[in-house]
């Protein structure tokens, strides 16, 4: 019995099986790509501002403190739904003003509290970042996070 499972059998199963699962994975990725662009995100609202805002998000390495859709550094609050938490669904202008004011007032300097750096963003960058966070909050994420706390 033991001899039936030889080294070359193990090798062939490895190569054949891996190829099969890789092709399956790529096929599902292609479908997911299509699904994301047509169903779960709204590309008609993916404006220049959102694109620039994503760049602001990246250039300042926000993800190495915050998380977005649950991915990031877990050191600071989840921002995938920050727009919702700030009441952006009901009052977009109010949420935008609050986000901008928050960014501009950092660091708080409070002892014993985590400090967010002052990134000295321009008005344009602050607006673009808000656009990006607003757009992100509308991604259909299968109902995640469980509540507004993120």
């Amino acid at each position: 019995m033991a001899e039936r499972f030889t080294k070359s059998a193990a090798r062939n199963i490895f190569y054949g099986g891996s190829a099969f699962f890789f092709v399956t994975f790529v096929a599902l990725t292609i479908h997911s790509h299509y699904y994301m662009r047509t169903v779960s995100t709204d590309e008609s609202t993916l404006t220049e501002g959102v694109v620039r805002g994503k760049h602001v998000w990246e250039k300042n390495s926000c993800i190495n403190c915050h998380s977005i859709l649950g991915e990031g550094a877990y050191f600071a609050p989840e921002l995938g739904n920050v727009w919702v938490r700030y009441g952006g669904r009901e009052d977009p202008e109010g949420a935008r003003a609050a986000l901008v004011a928050w960014m501009q007032s950092q660091p708080s300097g409070i002892q014993g509290r985590r400090q967010m750096p002052q990134f000295n963003l321009t008005d344009q960058e602050l607006n673009d970042l808000s656009d990006f966070l607003e757009w992100t909050s509308r991604i259909k994420t299968q109902g995640w996070p469980p509540n507004d706390a993120g």
Binding site: K54, G70, P77, W144
Partner: protein
């Protein structure tokens, strides 16, 4: 050392250990910020510390893999590395890139996708270095003996280089960005890196136990088969909540639950072979690391991953300290310990001594492993409390974090022990040789390799 060009590995290991020290020192600083939030806030904010911590880890692990390849491929292929000069050029490119990146980060020069923050010139440098490396080792293997260990190692290293190319694709749609970002991150650590890990482990087992190569290599193919069959579709456990279709909750849950299998198989493999082995190898420290690696990988990557991989659990645990706990022990158990194993094994050959400073090395093993386990426990408890307060009770993020201070202090404590043990390891391997192993029971048949 049978082949002169194996000596290339020495310099890769030196550079890897230098970055390892940077990684844990900066990690300790970041852990201090968790405990004392105002620490360094104005000089080096947390996001910069974390970038250095994670990037230094990735680069030193890669240097360790490259060094391992340069060490073991001559023995497997039974010929010298094609071009030692290219190997040193490759090392220089990587070190210039790594140091340039770290200095740049402290000055605020970086990109901003997690783990892929390297500036474009560094990314291009990594690709060039990878091409040089693949050319060099592939040619060596093609012209020499072809073994399963070398085949699987090469496949893993080719996959590593190919999937890194997704680092250059950054779509403006955040959901699509994340879909392919995982092609680098997941397909590295839960895919092709496992091929590298299994093949290096197989090499060590052959050398340390003397078990017949045919047996070891059959195990090797079975293990890497399990790794890819589960790990490829297991990527789905990252696709639950990023805007991907709902079927990933089924695909991801089922396949990633099976990602435990290859790690469990590695434990059974290493211990079975050690049991069967006839050889009483004098390098007991390397043996200890080699047996410890699959065990800690099984707990860190396997058990701690399994714990929150089902979508109905992950719905609550996603993006909390539970993820951090898993990340720390998985990287340590699988890849840090693997590198420390091969370094412990290879250094006596590279320096031309019988196995040396073994007692200190074994102390290092126990202190580092215990400290990492303790760190993982503290973060796990922090995560569970966080999940309950934040995801169930709905307290705000910052309110919850204040409740976790005790856990963060304990994590800092364990982190300091990790730093100490890392320095001990470096001293044991690269410091003065104070005691050497004598042939223990059968000096006349002391193995040459």
């Amino acid at each position: 050392m049978k082949y002169e060009t194996q000596g290339i590995a020495y310099w890769y290991f030196v550079c890897a250990m230098a970055l390892f020290v940077v990684q844990v020192l900066v990690g300790a600083l970041a852990a201090t910020v968790y405990a004392v939030p105002n620490f360094l806030a104005e000089i080096l904010p947390f996001n910069i510390l974390r970038m250095i911590h994670t990037n230094a880890l990735i680069v030193w692990l890669l240097l360790g893999f490259f060094g391992s390849a340069y060490y073991l491929i001559p023995e497997e292929a039974e010929r010298d590395i094609e071009s030692p000069m290219l190997a040193y050029v490759q090392l220089a490119i990587l070190m210039i890139g790594a140091l340039g990146a770290v200095i740049g980060y402290t000055l605020g020069i970086h990109e901003g996708r997690e783990f892929l923050e390297q500036p474009l010139w560094v990314k291009i440098g990594i690709v060039i270095a990878a091409l040089i490396f693949l050319y060099n080792v592939s040619l060596t293997v093609l012209k020499g003996r072809k073994t399963a260990v070398a085949n699987v190692l090469l496949l893993g290293l080719w996959g590593l280089a190919l999937f890194f190319l997704f680092a250059f694709y950054n779509p403006s749609n955040l959901a699509v960005d994340k879909l392919y970002w995982w092609y680098v991150v997941h397909l590295w650590v839960e895919g092709v890196w496992e091929l590298i890990m299994a093949s290096v482990l197989a090499f060590l087992v052959i050398k340390l136990t003397g078990v017949d190569r045919e047996v070891v290599e059959k195990w090797l193919y079975a293990i890497v088969g399990m790794a890819l069959f589960s790990g490829l579709l297991g990527t789905g456990h990252h696709y639950y909540w990023i805007g991907a279709p709902g079927y990933w909750q089924w695909v991801g849950s089922i396949f990633s639950a099976m990602e435990v299998a290859p790690f469990f198989a590695m434990v059974v493999f290493a211990f079975t072979m050690a049991w069967k082995g006839r050889r009483d190898h004098p390098n007991t420290a390397a043996f200890l690391w080699t047996l410890g690696t699959p065990v800690m990988a099984f707990f860190g990557a396997g058990v701690w991953g399994f714990m929150h991989t089902f979508s109905f659990v992950n719905y609550y645990s996603h993006g909390t300290q539970v993820t951090a706990a898993h990340g720390h022990l998985a990287f340590f158990g699988a890849y840090v310990m693997l590198n420390l194993s091969i370094i412990s094994y290879a250094m006596p050959h590279l320096r031309g001594y019988a196995p040396y400073n073994q007692v200190l090395n074994m102390w290092t093993f126990w202190i580092m492993t215990s400290a990492m386990a303790f760190m993982t426990f503290t973060l796990t408890f922090a995560g569970v409390v966080q999940i309950h307060l934040q995801r169930v009770m709905g307290l705000t993020y910052m309110e919850v974090q204040e409740q976790l201070a005790l856990f963060y202090w304990m994590r800092l404590g364990s982190g300091i022990f990790v730093v100490i043990s890392v320095l001990m390891f470096v001293y044991a391997m690269f410091g003065p040789v104070r005691e050497q192993a004598l042939g223990r029971t059968r000096p006349s048949v002391m193995p040459a390799e």
